[in-house]
Amino acid sequence: MTASYATYGIIDSEDSVPAGIAGLHASVVWNLPYRGIGVVVSLLAGPVQDIVAGAVQHEAVVERLMRAHTVLPMRFPTVLAGQEAILAMMSQHYDGFQENLRRLRNQVEFGIRVLWPAAHCPAAPLRAQVSHESSGKQYMRERYRQYQCRQVLSEQADQFGRKLDAALSEFVTAKRLRKTAADAFAFDGVYLVNRDKGAAFRRAFAEARGSEPDFEYLLSGPWPPYSFVTG
């Protein structure tokens, strides 16, 4: 039976990976060299039973690799059957891997999410509503009030997004911004930042955040550059 290999990332080296990195199912992780680069793999002894735990372990391996190498993280789960399939994959994508490794050398990713301030558009308490209105009218009135409230917040989010962009631009190599239609986030951005500028990026974000205290913020990173790997 052909052995199955879990793949974690493409690295810019043929060297061995640091000892002691545990892969899925606590397996040994190693680098399979290919024309100056390598793909980091481990033998997969059985099914991935717990998708969440597997994803977290995958990320742990990628982050360990990131300390020593430029790494292109593989999407989880990518399992290949046999070393021939791995070599075929490396051959097929070699030029793209090289281009990505060059572009993402010494780069990390930060994520910034801005959450709507939930308390700013609270549902009106029933007691405060006009008693002679029909429930349908009350419902439509409340919907319209919520809509107007969101419009105001949306404009504020746009303004803050522009302000944030200006504050961070000098530290950013590339960015992907998304104004979300979803309720949870008013702003969702990922930033590619030179590893050496990570601390300055964080400070600039903290200053910008302080100028708009009404929103809630999620800053995460540094991550491997998941969002900036191109096909």
Binding site: M1, S4, T7, G9, I10, L44, G46, P47, V48, Q49, I51, V52, A55, V56, H58, E59, L72, P73, M74, R75, F76, P77, T78, V79, L80, A81, M89, Q92, H93, F97, N100, G111, L218, S220, W223, P224, Y226, S227, V229, G231
Partner: protein, 72 residues
């Protein structure tokens, strides 16, 4: 457990899953799953899991459940 800590962990996990399951290098591969008495089934995939929601559906799928039940 402190609720603030739990919330922070939840947020971090979602950030991890959002990246690991939705982004990164995509090549043709196989997801290894199994049903009751059959050793392994290889299901070809390109982008099998495209979101955390999909992951949740996968966790609840009969194939994965069957494997889990057969595990000591």
């Amino acid at each position: 457990m402190d609720s603030a800590v739990a919330t922070e962990k939840d947020v971090t996990l979602l950030e991890v899953l959002d990246r690991v399951l939705n982004k990164g290098v995509v090549v043709a591969g196989d997801l290894v799953i199994s049903v009751a008495d059959v050793d392994l089934i290889y299901v070809g995939l390109r982008v099998l899991i495209s979101s955390v929601e999909t992951m949740e559906r996968l966790r609840g799928s009969p194939l994965v459940d069957a494997w889990s039940e057969s595990t000591p």
